[in-house]
Symmetry: C2
Subunit: 240 residues, 2 copies
């Protein structure tokens, strides 16, 4: 290693942790794996793994995403770096620095333990999961980040299939934020934002399994940011 004193630094293990979020039946779900060894044996944890020698953290994250979800093609999925967790004691065995990512998926099938032996499952997110290591904090940070980015980006479409209704898009906001939104106002706002969604030409209704008037279908537009933003309703609970 020319140029570096070989004792000037401590070598670390570098891993990625993934907060994989999706909407299932109107509720926010997160992909978790059950730990098969100590520490935290039997606890739920975020999927993740080591960064390989020739990988960037982003590459490793996408590889892990494919392995853990069992999906054939994860190239189109939204993957976003959250931040890096590096507290000295966060893994009792050794010094591990973990780069955390959030991944957003349309409703996906139950994973059948792709690469890893440990079982992976979708579990509903309620903000109070006790997870292994500092993973509950990572998950909470992921939720915060996604909720904030819904306000000023077009990120919500990452939770939707290629063609979706405005009602489904609204469900994304309501589920992530945990609030209700007025339907006509939401519709007006989304349609008034150029490039957020564009109508599917012949898009009458999807195969109508439901009651009521079938909704028109839309695709994600080309815009990435919302100007002006779509602000979530201010919390009533002003603490005194």
């Amino acid at each position: 290693m020319p140029g570096y004193d070989k004792y000037a630094f401590e070598p670390f293990a570098v891993t990625v942790d993934l907060a994989v979020l999706t909407l299932r039946a109107g509720a926010l779900h997160v992909l978790l794996v059950e730990r098969g060894q100590e520490p935290y044996l039997g606890h739920w944890a975020l999927p993740g793994g080591f960064v390989l020698p020739d990988e960037s953290a982003e590459t490793a994250a996408r590889r892990e995403l494919a392995e853990e979800t069992g999906l054939a093609d994860v190239s189109g999925l939204h993957l976003e770096q959250l931040r890096t967790y590096s507290e000295p004691g966060r893994d009792p065995r050794m010094r591990v620095v973990s780069v955390a990512f959030a991944a957003l998926l349309p409703d996906a099938p139950e994973p059948h333990g792709g690469g890893d032996a440990a079982q992976a499952r979708w579990l509903p997110y309620d903000g109070t999961e006790p997870l292994a290591f500092d993973h509950d904090r990572i998950l909470a940070d992921a939720h915060d980040r996604v909720g904030a980015k819904l306000e000023y980006t077009c990120l919500a479409t990452a939770f939707c299939p290629p063609e979706f209704t405005l009602g489904e898009l609204q469900q994304v906001y309501e589920t992530v934020w945990g609030t209700g939104l007025d339907r006509p106002n939401f519709r007006r706002k989304v349609l008034a934002t150029p490039g957020f969604v564009e109508p599917v030409p012949g898009g009458a209704a999807r195969l109508t399994g439901g009651r009521g008037k079938p909704a028109a279908l839309y695709r994600a537009g080309t815009a990435t940011t919302l100007h002006p933003p779509l602000l979530r309703p201010p919390r009533e609970g002003r603490s005194a």
Copy 2:
């Protein structure tokens, strides 16, 4: 290392890189160090260094910040993790994963090479600096992040001394965004946001060295977020 196969991972060097920003004479400046060895000998680079065995990245960043600026107390300065850069080839010597931070300072004295031998200097930021490694990208990301956070947080006060005028606060926005703002409107917006700033009781003027009516002094308030946000004027240059 119980529980880990000792060959399951590659050890990495973990460093922190700092984009230290300040306002000097109405222009955005960044703290840079001149490299004293290959690679990039003689190039400007962001200050930074290795994360020590018992440090988190945040702790290492604040230590480096103190060393490089030469400031006695950096505990009150705003320090924010940007993201982690981990491309395999970003340092030609070895595998280095770097956690990048942005630090915001009120106008600070010229650093006199605190801990490191390499000279550190404030240089004006114009967005086109060719820096060592991928530091120009880190710096651009820092600028983007700070500009975005000015919109929906009270971050601007981190660039100001403990007591400041509204004109100085406006200068922060104008300098970071590179746009002009209407002074009465800016004033109305800031004062209408509860907790953004609070007036200094006996705060007439600062030692008035300037011409014109002396401005009232304010301190940073307790609020951290701006609801509704203070949006930057939309860019006119809609590319075709």
